[in-house]
């Protein structure tokens, strides 16, 4: 009989004190764990990377098992802005508007070379990376990135979500960074 053990990593509970019927940890770790497993993405798909995202949502690569089954096209109800594809200068104000409409806490994932830095389109009409208009948390390179790479980027976002302190969004450094983008 041919048995193979598939290696997998057990999900570790956050650090804390555990006793029968009791588990004590800090609030931000619990909230982080809840948030990371239920991120609602906003797929801002503009071009070819959008088709690879559709493949990632499909049954083969399944983004749904990370808790991101419910895509939100309304920014007010989304946590994660996934920008997939080239953003032209004409589109830049639109993406900033969408980012402003999202409620805190919000994260941004730049998928693909065009969203990260303009990609192969070093031209007069293409924005050389969306970090010129919105703050970006994770960049996924590739043209287009394979679905596995998009999932790896998503998992990095999940790590960031899990480790985020609760008061980060009210801190002066964060406010200053947003002001640098013109977002008040």
């Amino acid at each position: 009989m041919n048995t193979t053990t598939i290696p997998y990593t057990k999900t570790e509970p956050p650090e804390g004190y555990s006793a029968p019927g009791l588990f004590a940890t800090t609030l931000d770790r619990v909230v982080g764990m809840a948030r990371k497993n239920s991120l609602w993405p906003l797929p801002f798909a503009t071009s070819c990377c959008g088709i690879e995202f559709m493949a990632t949502m499909g049954a083969n690569y399944d983004l749904g098992r990370f808790g991101a089954e419910r895509l939100s096209f309304s920014p007010r109800q989304a946590d994660l802005l996934m920008v997939m594809g080239t953003i032209a200068k004409k589109m830049a104000p639109v993406i900033q508007q969408v980012y402003i409409q999202m409620a805190e806490p919000r994260w941004v994932l730049a998928v693909g070379a065009c969203a990260s830095s303009g990609g192969i389109f070093d031209t007069y009409s293409v924005l050389q990376g969306i970090d010129r208009v919105v703050p970006v948390d994770v960049y996924v390179p590739g043209c287009p990135p394979r679905p596995e790479q998009i999932l790896a980027g998503f998992m990095k976002i999940q790590e960031m979500v899990a480790d985020e302190p609760l008061r980060r969004r009210y801190s002066p450094e964060y406010r200053e960074m947003l002001a640098g983008y013109g977002i008040v």
């Binding site: 200068k89 004409k90 070093d122 007069y124 009409s125 050389q128």
Partner: protein
């Protein structure tokens, strides 16, 4: 109907406005003067024995070294007999006006807007001649040869890394 016949018909009707014809390439290419271009296209479309009813393509071109640098190239197609023809016209930079063919072919609407956006050729008689692909506040015509490909105001990429 072959290229010789079409050339004859055009030359008989438009005489000195047909500047050049060339049947040596992949299709008959005719160069006409700018003011009559809409008439030539109408002639090619509506004459019953010519019947070029399909406008395949309309684009611009820029030859900075020539006397008439800006050009518009039309590709027409006779679907019944499967014959294609290329018609070109050239204008100066100072007065880049070309009559529009939007009345003949509705498809020329956006094609002419794109040519205006890229080259600055003004199509007289166009219902809505404004920029279509670039941002509205762009103040130059990007596909002309004197403009660079890259955005001149960008500060994050150093030209020496890109061989420029």
């Amino acid at each position: 109907m072959d290229n010789v016949y079409i050339t004859d018909r055009l030359k008989k009707t438009f005489t000195h406005d047909i500047l050049e014809t060339d049947a040596g390439g992949d299709m008959l290419t005719v160069i006409v003067t700018a003011p009559v271009i809409a008439e030539v296209i109408r002639f090619l479309k509506e004459e019953p024995d010519l019947g070029f009813v399909f406008l395949t393509d309309l684009c611009g071109i820029h030859y900075p070294d020539r006397g008439l640098p800006l050009g518009v190239v039309y590709h027409l197609h006779n679907l019944g007999e499967n014959i294609r023809i290329r018609v070109k016209t050239f204008v100066t930079l100072a007065d880049p006006r070309v009559p529009s063919v939007t009345g003949l072919f509705s498809t020329a609407n956006w094609m002419e807007r794109e040519t205006y956006d890229f080259y600055g050729i003004l199509f007289e008689g166009h219902p809505n001649l404004k920029r279509i692909l670039n941002v509205e506040y762009l103040d130059f015509f990007p596909l002309r040869k004197e403009y660079p490909l890259e955005d001149p105001t960008r500060e994050d990429k150093q030209d020496r890394h890109f061989g420029r």
